[in-house]
C-alpha cells in the first residue's frame, strides 16, 4: 500500500501561526500509531486565514483541514483524518474551496499544489516547459511573446516588460545581467514571498528565460533580509536546479549558460527602488541613482540589466509556454493579464488572490476578504504600499487596473490592499507616511530627506490644533515640493497617502476626534 501523503505548508505565514509544530505533531503521532505517511512541505495556497492548512491525499483527492493546531492532532487521527474523515477542522476537497477555485491562477497555479523543493514535482506540473519552448523558438520569438502578452512590471511601476527586455537585448555588451527585485518592502504585500516559497523553480525558470531572451548569463536575486525562510528555500532550490542541469553551463544541452546568486538586503526600504537596489547589489549604500542612464543600458556594474520584480519574472514561463495572447486575454484596457492581489490588515480572510485586472476593490475585499476582521465598517483602504493613497469606502467600486487607479489619484503598485476599520485615525496614518519617509529616505535629495521631517512637524501642529488652516496650506505646499522635486518615488509619492487623507479624512486632524489607534 502506498504511503499516505500529508501536506503541511512550509511558508512564512503558515509557519508563523504554527505549521512547523503541526508537521512535527503529525509525524510524531503517525510514528506512535505505527502509521506510514509521507509528509510533504508544499507552499501555501494563499488562503492565509485558513493556515495552518493541512491536506491529506485520499485516493488522489486532497482533503483540506484548516486552522489546525498541534492540540487537534490526536482528535484528527481519531477521526480517521488520514482517510479524509469528518472533523471540525475539515474543509473538504481543496479544489472545492471557493476562495481558490474562482481565482485566475496564472502565476500561482503551482503554488500550494506542488512540493516546493522538488524538481520532479515541478516538472510534473508544466515545470520548465516555458524554457524548453524558449530554446525551440529562439530569443526573438520569446521577446515577441512577452511583448504580445502586455505584461507590465509587477513591482509597482507597471513599465511594459517587453520594451525593457528588447532594450537590453538590443544593447551590445560583453556582459549583461538579470536582476530580480525581491525586496518586497511595501506593507501589505507578500506575493513575491509566497511565490518564492511555494514555487521557487518558477522564478528560476523565468530568470533563465529572461537571460536567454536578452543575452545575459548571470542573474541576481536581491532578497530582503526580513525573509529568512524564503532565503533558505531559494538557496536550496538553486542548488537543486544546478544539480539537475537547469542552471550552469550548457543548460540541458542547449548551449546556453546561466547562473543565479542570491544577495540579501539589509533592512533598507529604498533598496526596493531599482537603482538603489543595483547600488546595494554592488555592495554600496542603497542610494538612488540619477536616471538616465536607464538600467537597461547601464545597470549593474555599468552593464545592461533587466531589473524585474519576482511576479513579473514568474509570469513569463507560462507566457512563453502558452503564448502571449493567452495571457493578454485576461484583464482590461492596458492592464493585461492577472495580478496577485494581497488582502491584508484588518481583513477577515486575508491572503493572496490572483485575479485578472478589472475586478473591483469591493469584490476583492467583500467577496474574497469577507470584510474586516473586527466586523466593524471599513473606513479606508490603502492600496499599493506606504506610498499608495488611502481610498475611502465610497470608492470601493473602483476597478483594479493601473489607469483607473491613476484617475482617482491612487496607484495599484504591487497589489497590496490594506484594510482599516472605522476606529482608525487617519491623521495618525498621514503622520506615519511622513515619518516612514524620514526613517527610510536615502538622503540623496533634499525634498525627501528634509521634507519628510518637516512634514511630520507640520502634521503634529495640525493635530495639536495649532493654526490648522495655515498649516494645512503649508502641508499641501510641502507635498507639491516633494512630489515635483524628489529624485525617486520615496519622496515623490509619500505625498499620495498624505494628500488622500487631507482630501477625504480632513476631520481626523481635529484633536477631539483623535481615535482609538493612539
Amino acid at each position: 500500500m502506498a504511503r499516505t501523503k500529508v501536506f503541511v505548508p512550509r511558508e512564512t505565514t503558515a509557519v508563523s501561526v504554527g505549521a512547523d509544530d503541526v508537521a512535527i505533531a503529525i509525524a510524531r503521532k503517525s510514528k506512535e500509531i505505527g502509521g506510514d505517511i509521507e509528509l510533504i512541505r508544499n507552499g501555501s495556497w494563499g488562503a492565509s486565514w485558513l493556515e495552518p492548512l493541512v491536506e491529506v491525499d485520499v485516493d488522489g483527492q486532497r482533503i483540506a483541514y484548516g486552522n489546525v493546531t498541534p492540540a487537534d492532532i490526536d482528535s484528527l487521527f481519531d477521526s480517521n483524518f488520514l482517510g479524509g474523515g469528518e472533523h471540525d477542522r475539515r474543509l473538504g476537497p481543496i479544489q472545492e474551496i471557493e476562495y481558490l477555485i474562482t481565482q485566475d491562477r496564472w502565476t500561482f497555479f503551482r503554488v500550494g499544489l506542488i512540493e516546493a523543493l522538488s524538481i520532479e514535482s515541478y516538472t510534473a506540473h508544466q515545470g520548465f516547459k516555458g524554457l524548453q519552448k524558449a530554446f525551440e523558438i529562439g530569443s526573438d520569438a520569446v521577446l515577441d511573446a512577452v511583448h504580445e502578452s502586455g505584461l507590465r512590471g509587477r513591482g509597482g511601476a507597471g513599465f511594459p516588460t517587453g520594451i525593457k527586455w528588447r532594450t537590453v537585448a538590443a544593447t551590445q555588451a560583453e556582459q549583461k545581467y538579470i536582476a530580480c527585485n525581491a525586496d518586497e518592502g511595501d506593507s501589505g504585500t507578500f506575493s513575491d514571498r509566497m511565490l518564492m516559497e511555494g514555487d521557487p523553480m518558477c522564478l528560476i525558470e523565468g530568470m533563465i528565460i529572461a537571460g536567454y531572451a536578452v543575452g545575459a548569463s548571470k542573474g541576481y536575486i536581491y532578497l530582503r533580509s526580513e525573509y529568512p525562510l524564503t532565503h533558505m528555500i531559494l538557496l536550496k532550490a538553486i542548488d537543486l536546479a544546478r544539480d539537475a542541469g537547469w542552471l550552469g553551463e550548457d543548460i540541458q544541452g542547449s548551449g546556453f549558460a546561466f547562473d543565479i546568486d542570491v544577495h540579501l538586503g539589509a533592512g533598507s526600504y529604498v533598496c526596493g527602488e531599482e537603482t538603489a537596489m543595483l547600488e546595494s547589489l554592488e555592495g554600496k549604500k542603497g542610494i538612488v541613482r540619477y536616471k538616465p542612464p536607464l538600467p537597461a543600458i547601464e545597470g549593474l556594474f555599468g552593464k545592461p540589466t533587466v531589473v524585474n520584480n519576482v511576479i513579473t519574472l514568474a509570469s513569463v514561463p507560462n507566457i512563453v509556454n502558452l503564448g502571449g495572447e493567452r495571457y493578454a486575454g485576461y484583464g482590461v484596457d492596458r492592464s493585461r493579464g492577472t495580478l496577485a492581489f494581497q488582502l491584508a490588515g484588518n481583513i477577515k480572510r486575508g491572503g493572496v488572490v490572483e485575479k485578472a485586472f478589472g475586478i473591483t476593490l469591493r469584490e476583492l475585499i467583500e467577496d474574497y476578504g469577507g470584510g474586516t476582521a473586527s466586523g466593524r465598517p471599513i473606513k479606508a483602504v490603502q492600496v499599493g504600499g506606504p506610498l499608495g493613497a488611502y481610498i475611502p469606502a465610497e470608492q470601493l467600486d473602483t476597478p483594479l487596473d493601473y489607469e483607473a487607479f491613476i484617475e482617482i489619484g491612487a496607484m495599484l503598485g504591487h497589489g497590496g490592499i490594506v484594510v482599516f476599520d472605522d476606529r482608525t485615525n487617519l491623521a495618525q496614518m498621514a503622520r506615519f507616511a511622513m515619518e516612514f519617509c524620514a526613517i527610510e529616505s536615502c538622503g540623496k535629495c533634499t525634498p525627501c530627506r528634509i521634507g519628510s521631517t518637516r512634514g511630520v512637524e507640520v502634521i503634529d501642529r495640525m493635530i495639536e490644533g495649532e493654526n490648522r488652516e495655515e498649516n494645512y496650506d503649508l502641508l499641501v505646499e510641502l507635498c507639491d515640493t516633494m512630489e515635483d522635486a524628489s529624485l525617486c518615488a520615496m519622496g515623490g509619492m509619500t505625498p499620495y497617502p498624505v494628500r488622500s487623507i487631507l482630501k477625504y479624512f480632513a476631520e481626523d486632524f481635529a484633536s477631539e476626534t483623535r481615535g482609538a489607534n493612539e
Binding site: I347, V419, F420, D421
Partner: protein, 158 residues
C-alpha cells in the same frame, strides 16, 4: 589566533572576508556574516574590512551606518522586532508595542542584557497581522496574550 583584548577575533573575520574572495562588491553580504558571527560590527571589524577589501574606512562606515540591519553595539540575548507598518497598525500593533514595552521594560531601539526591542517595517506576514519576529522567527496573529506566551517561551529556550 589573534584575539584582541575586547574579544575580537581577526582571524575569524579574515576567514569570512576571504570566503567572499575579498571582493569589495560583496561588502553588504560580508557584513551580514560578520553580524552573524560577532553579533555586531565593531570598530575593529570596520578597520579590518577596509584594509582587506581595499576600501576607505569611511566607505565601510558609510555602508554599515546606512543599513538598519548592521548593528554596531551588541544586542541583548534575544531580539524582539515588532512590525510597525500599516497592515500591522490596522490590527493594533501600536497597542501591542506599548504592551511589549511595559512587559519587557524596554522601549523601542533599547537593549538590556536580556532583550533588544526593535521596530521593523514589514515582515511580509500582513494577512495574519500583527507580526513579530523573535530571534529570526516570524510569528503572526500576535495579541498581548500570545506575545506574553512567546516571550516566556524564549526565556525557556535559553
Amino acid at each position: 589566533m589573534s584575539m584582541t583584548g575586547n574579544g575580537y577575533d581577526a582571524d575569524a573575520a579574515s576567514e569570512i572576508i576571504s570566503s567572499f574572495s575579498a571582493r569589495p562588491e560583496m561588502l553588504v553580504q560580508i557584513l551580514h556574516r560578520i553580524v552573524e558571527h560577532f553579533g555586531y560590527i565593531s570598530d575593529d571589524a570596520i578597520r579590518q574590512l577596509a584594509t582587506e577589501l581595499n576600501l576607505s574606512r569611511a566607505d565601510v562606515h558609510g555602508v554599515v551606518s546606512y543599513y538598519h540591519d548592521f548593528r554596531t553595539e551588541p544586542a541583548g540575548k534575544h531580539v524582539v522586532r515588532i512590525c510597525q507598518a500599516e497592515a500591522c497598525q490596522a490590527m493594533g500593533s501600536r497597542e501591542l508595542t506599548a504592551h511589549a514595552e511595559s512587559t519587557l521594560g524596554v522601549g523601542l531601539h533599547q537593549t538590556t542584557d536580556d532583550v533588544t526591542l526593535e521596530p521593523v517595517y514589514c515582515l511580509g506576514n500582513c494577512a495574519c497581522s500583527p507580526a513579530v519576529m523573535i530571534d529570526g522567527h516570524t510569528f503572526g496573529r500576535v495579541d498581548a496574550t500570545r506575545f506574553d506566551e512567546l516571550v516566556s517561551n524564549m526565556g525557556a529556550k535559553d
